[in-house]
Structures are given as C-alpha cells and as structure tokens.
Subunit: 334 residues, 3 copies
C-alpha cells in the first residue's frame, strides 16, 4: 500500500485485512518493525489526536517522526499554482512538499477545506495538488473531503463493540458556533455504508450533505448490502439506532457564505445531543464523535459522561488503526 488517502480507494476485503492487522498489532506489538524508518508529518491545521497518535504509532513500531507546522516555527506555504509570491507565504508547496518527502520514508499531510467553494473542496483540489508532489508513501491526515484514519478507527470501534454490520448508523448534525468542514461527515457516512449499515443522515434544512457525498455512500451501500437515506426528523432517524455519530458541519445551501450560514445555525441551538433524544427511540444507542467536541454545545455532558459514549475508544482506535496503516505502508503485505 503506497497511499492511504480515502477508504473508498480500497476494496472491502482490503479494509478487513487492515483491521485484522490492527487487531494483531494491538495484541502482539512489534516494537522493532519500523526501526530506522522516519515519518514526516505536515500539519497545515491544528491537531491533538492526529499529532499525538501518529507520533505514538511510529514510536510503538520502533520508528521516529518529525513534525512541520507552517505558521508555527515554519513559514506559511503557498498552495496556488502560478501564484506571484509577494505576500505572506515564503515557500510554495511545489518546493516544500517534495523536500519534506525526500527526508522521510512516509509523509502524512493534514490540510482542511478552505470552505469557500464547495466544488473546489469536494474535488480535493488542494490535497491532490500536494499528493501529486509526493513520491513516497502518503497518508491523508484529514483533507477537504475525507478523513480515512478516522473512518477506519470508527469502523474498528464498532467491530470492537460488536455493533451489527447491518445495524442502524445515524450521522447527526450537531450545533457548533461556526461552519466546520465536511471531511468527517463525508468519511463517516461512506464508512458506515461500506460496512453494510442502515445509514441515516439526520440534519436540519440547509445542511444536507452534497449529492456527490451521498452518491458515493450509496455506491458503497449497494456493494455491501447497506442503505443510505437522509431526514430532518430526529425521532424517525433515531428509532432503533445502534449508533449516533454526532458531527458539526457547515451549511451546504450557503457554503462559503459566513453570514448566511450563521443565520441558519442561529436557530439550531437545540441540536445539542441530550439523553432525551434516546428515550423511547433508541435506549441502547451509543454515541460516537471524532473529537474535539464542544461540550454542552454539540453534545451535552450527560451524554459524554455516560456509558452511552464510546468516544474514548474511538480516539484510542486512531492509534491502533494508524499503526496498522504505517506497518502496511512501510514493510509490506498484511
């Protein structure tokens, strides 16, 4: 495996093999497997889990890593092709990225959506421009439109808890003070569909996932025997749900329009996941969230602090599955 950019690039049995490798390494660590190997990490956006777990994953396998954070000890990087660079950015990705790749055995890149132009973001314009410059194994640490490390960790988390492959998975929009990118909801809906689940996207008007995102999930569902639909009706969505996957994202009906988005979300403070969402609909439903989560804004304390929440296991599984991705990328066949 040379690239881990999108779960959709893999067949279902390839994902199963990665998850099996992850479980094997979780049980039987191989602390020398990547001795002498170096992972380069380029963070164009902030991180806690990804930053810590990628370094920890390399270390667990005996390798090492370096971190580059433009704007924090490193100059800003320009991404636009043809730019006349007389502004703040001192270096172009066309130099910076191949140079970093030349210093390591695998590179991870985090580059969030610009959140200005939906088509531009969904096309992964920026990430693709960067990926084309990398001639080493490459890991997507969250791009404009997907987050495969998170998706794989989420899949394993449901396996760990023996959530049925055909169970109901509700991706629910949740309130946040500002518009956030679509990468995680897009990755989650695709992952659950690929896993074979009965996927329901629960979101208010104006926040429907883009048709391309839904179509991709439906294609995965068609192959796996799952299904994908969307609704704004909470009771309908949660009825019998096994998982609620809470996530904040920006309005798609006025994408890139800060004022329009703010107006829409001002009415949506009630979209903070609370215990009463589950009464009489899905008493045993578990809460997933990729983190970070704003307490009492997106999800209430009463949910996060209850056994319903499996966000800690989800976050821990980031380390577990990334260890498998690194292993597979750097030393071969699982």
């Amino acid at each position: 495996m040379r690239r881990f950019l999108d779960l959709a690039d893999f067949e279902r049995d390839e994902v199963s093999a990665l998850l099996q490798l992850a479980r094997r390494l979780e049980k039987s660590p191989e602390p020398q497997a990547l001795a002498g190997k170096i992972l380069g990490l380029l963070f164009l956006n902030p991180s806690l889990r990804t930053l810590a777990s990628m370094q920890a994953g390399m270390a667990r396998l005996g390798g090492s890593s370096f971190v580059i954070t433009p704007g924090q000890g490193t100059w800003q990087l320009e991404t636009k092709l043809g730019a006349v660079m007389n502004g703040v950015a001192a270096e172009h990705i066309r130099e910076g990225i191949p140079v970093l790749a030349s210093y390591c055995d695998a590179l991870g890149i985090r580059a969030f959506a610009d959140c200005k132009d939906l088509a531009y973001d969904l096309a992964e314009t920026n990430f693709t421009a960067m990926a084309e410059l990398v001639d080493k194994p490459l890991i997507n640490l969250e791009s404009a439109a997907t987050h495969p490390c998170q998706a794989l960790a989420d899949w394993k988390t449901m396996d760990d808890l023996q959530v049925s492959q055909h169970g109901r998975f509700v991706l629910s929009w949740a309130y946040h003070p500002r518009a956030l990118p679509l990468a995680v909801p897009a990755a989650a809906v695709h992952m659950a569909a690929m896993r074979g689940m009965d996927v329901v996207v629960l979101r208010p008007e104006g926040f429907a996932l883009p048709p391309a995102v839904m179509a991709k999930a439906r294609r995965a569902a068609a192959q796996s025997g799952g299904s994908v639909r969307e609704t704004a009706d909470r009771r309908d969505a949660l009825e019998g749900a096994n998982i609620i996957y809470a996530k904040e994202w920006g309005s798609t009906s006025c994408y890139g329009d800060t004022a329009g988005d703010a107006k829409l979300r001002a009415e949506l403070l009630g979209w903070c996941v609370r215990n009463d969402w589950f009464t009489n609909t899905a008493p045993d439903c578990r809460l997933m969230h990729c983190l970070p989560v704003r307490r009492n804004t997106a999800v209430a304390d009463e949910v996060l602090d209850s056994p319903r929440s499996i966000v800690q296991r989800e976050a821990f599984n980031r380390l577990v599955v990334q260890t498998a991705v690194l292993y597979e990328m750097l030393i071969g066949k699982c």
Copy 2:
C-alpha cells in the same frame, strides 16, 4: 510509583531512594531501559528546561516522547466542568487528557496557576481535575502550587555540593515585573524543610507565603529535625546562610489583584540579588534559582556569573532526577 505529583506524597526514604537511583543512572546510564516506551507531554504553559529535559530523559533511557501544546498547533483546552463551550476552546480536558493518556505509557502535564483565586490555586483545583482523568503514570511538570521535579533536582544539587542537611536555606523573594505563581517557592520551602534544613523565608511585606504553604513546610521540618521561619530582615535571614534560593512570586496579600500587586512591587526594585547582600553575612553562600531568571532584575550579573551561582548544576539535575522518576515509574522498583 504511579504518580509523581508532589514531593510531600513521599516518605523521606523514598526520596532518598529516588536520589540514589538518579545518581546510579547518572554514573551508569541504561540506554535501553525504556526502549519502546512513550512519554506524552502536555504543556499548557511555556517551558525550556522541562520541555527539553523530559524529552532528553526519555531518549537517554531509549524511550521516546510526543509534545502537545494547546494554542500552538493544538486547539485550546477548556478546563471548567459544565462549561458551555461556545468560546475559543474547541476541546475539553475531559476528552483531551484521557485520549493523550491512551497514546502513551506515562503522561507529564504542566499547568500553571490561574493566579486569580488563592484558595483555588492552593487546592490544585485544575491539576487535580486533570489528574483524575489519567489512568497512566503521571508526572507533575509544574502545577499551581508545586513543582516536584524542580524540588527533587534542588535537593540533589545540594547533596552534590555537600551542603549540610541542617544548613541554612534562605528562600528569598526577588523582583520581577509581574506577579508569578507560588509553585516553585512553595515546593522549595517544603523540600528544604523535608531535607532537614534551617529554612528562612525572606520576603517583603505583602509577600508572605500562604499559611497552608508554611504549615506544610513546618510539618516536614518537624519530621526531619529542620525548622521554618519567615522574616523581612535580609541581614537576619542571610546570617550564616549556606544557600540563597532566589524566586519571584506574586503578592499574597492582594492575590489576583494586578493593580494592587503592581503598587506593592513598584517599591521593591532593590530586591535584586547582588554581591553586597553576602558581605559580612554569608560570604560562602551559594545562589540557587529554578530559571528562567531575569538578569539584573531578579539577580545581578555579578552573582549569576560568579562561582556563587549553582543554577547550571540545578538545571542539569532536572534531567538527572527526571530520568530516575521516569525509570522508576515505567520499569519499577529502585
């Protein structure tokens, strides 16, 4: 040892054993002792020595580490329980800290005092809230009210220089442009008392250490055969002193009151340690300081650049004793 949070949590012979282990590892390094182990480091405040020496300590023992710095590549962390998180902090410690702990074998946390409410800070309210979330070995890298790594390094530094266990240890307030936390002075006075020394706290009016801090030191002195008193009379304090431990801290009489503190300290520019402090009182007295120190503000060049100063050895001993703490925490009995 699962936690290294406060020197007061240990018996005197446990401290002796740690110091003996530190001396042993200093003389006979064990470069593979912590192979495969990972230390997580969470810095909620700036650092030079702690940041470098914790990483160096792990590396000296064959382990590795990762560093998370909220506000610098990682989002701000909310610490308040029950907070409605619609402000700048994107993640709560209730998620962030257990997640980081799950990625490592031991966690170190630095979290300075808020310096608003004395009782809140002395109760270690913030640090305790964080510590309760950690199910791994945990090291205090400076909390609101103590700094055990510094205290242990200071103890060893005096042992190295054969300063008598019953010698006179003067903790002297020193000038600084702003109010600093009480963690280091509180740790130093307790450490010296626990070591059995004749401890004098020399400070101007308005800067007396809190009664709880003095009482804790007195309890330690009662056990060790030492003594603890305070004074504003420099000549009295320094008479026959073996050690002057200079430290800047905020007014306790108007704690959290920036204007009141500033008014008090405006009169105290003379509290910059100079050579003439020692003439006729304590010619052989050594200067200790935890660093960073503001030259010619808290301590004069003439003192820092003279053989009187042992601040470099103190700082080096941070590495030496922390190596022992990590060793003891991660592989067992000393």
Copy 3:
C-alpha cells in the same frame, strides 16, 4: 570535529573528507551509529528544511533530538550582555544555552542576522556570544553571516552533477519584497571560491556584497585556483555559466535602513530569474537556490519547473551532508 560553524574553518581536504563520508553514508547507511545520542536544536528563527533534515539526520543514524523554539512554547531569549531584563524576554542566553547544551550530545543553533548594523552582523556578534556558552559539539544552522550546512550541501550537489570544479558559478541577486540577511550569499560565494570556481557575483547597484565577504571569498579562491569578481551586467555574468545561484538579500549600501532599501528594490522587480536570461548566454546553466524561494518573484515557475532547476537535489543534500557532520562530530574520525 567539535564545531561546524563556517566552511572557512576547514581545509579543503577536510571538506573533501566530509563529502566523502556523506557519500558513503548515503550509499551505506549506519542506522545504529548514533544510538543513544541526543541532538538539541535551538531555533531562534523559522525553518522547514533545517528543522526537518536535522531531526531526520539524527533518526537515520539511530539518534534522537529535541527542538526548542523561543516564542513558540518557550519564552523569548535575551541576547544582549548586561541587559536589565524587565521586558519581554524571560531568560538570557547565558542561562538558556548552557542548560540546553547540558541536556544533549550536540547542539544546533539557528540565529539570523538582526539586519540593523552591518559590522555587528558580519562579526557574528550574537552567534559568537552563544557559541562561547556551549561546551558540546556545536552546529551552525544559519547565523548572521554564514550557513555552512547549506554551503556543504551546495558543494555536494555540484559534485553529484559533475559540475566542473573550475566551472562558472554566478551568484545572482534576486528580488524579494523585503531585505533578507547575507548569510546564504556570503556562504555560497565563499564555498564556490573554495571549490575552485570562476565566481561572479551579479547584483544591482546598492547590493554589492560587503568587502569583508568578497575578501574572504578571494582568499579561498587564491588557494583553490578559482577567481571572484562582481558585476551588475547580467549578460556578462551569465556568459558560459554552469550554475546560477539565485538569492535574495538586503541592500548593503543602506543596510538596516528599511525605507532606503525599499526604495532601491522597488526598481528591481525585473530581477526574477526567467528562461530568457539563459538564451544565447548559458543554455545549459543550472539553477540553484537554498529555498524557500518565492515563485514568480525571485524565480519564475518556468525555471523552477524545468530540468534547469536542481533545487530539490540541493535540499535533499542538506540531509545527506548534515548526516555526515553529525556522524563526524559524535563518533569521530572520517
């Protein structure tokens, strides 16, 4: 080798031996050579290549490193001797640097020119003050007046491409929105002269390299059989050139005078390296640049994206030569 501060500190055959070691380690890595060794890295200025390649170099040899970045997780460091430290800097280099040195086996320091007083900068006043405080092997990661890691990488890059030792090397000034330090141009002109090349410094009026820089290069040329001259005539300079080494630097005729410098450079937007510079003068001339480079400001896309550009190899050679420097410093004779 205890110090790697300036290529001029070495004899030509010492440089040759280092380059030979670099080639040997490039071909036959020694992944355990520096097991247990620690490199401290102090960055007083931003970096991408240096930051990543120094860490990667240590890791390639089995060692580890820590990074300290004042102003980013670490307090600001004061450099002025005798300073009364009541401003923003919390720590003086006289404490901070020896402390960091005591935590590692070798220290690297990056400290750019202040760009206020030319004589001060050319005398390496700041870097020398820091170097005097380090009792461990020390590497200059770019100081006010030189950048020996870059110079050594550049030398190797020309060797790799079999550029004649007596070929023509044109150091050409290039446009940048602001005045940049002289470290790289000074290092490049000396390196090329020491290599024996026919060195031409091509620069507009007001940007002549300082006499001391030219004299140092001429002394190196005298020993190696090379030559050094300067001109403002591009056609004359490039005629038959093998290498154009583009670099931005500040006006020396009004050094430290931001307004004066800006006025001069406002007329110089044409100093952006383009393909037509080479037509009829030096069709096979290669482009070198230390990076970061501002595209379409200092060098045009058409040049950077053509086979003429060897900037990627140059940057990769940073890792290769630094690995040799670390190896030689930390385990001995090459």
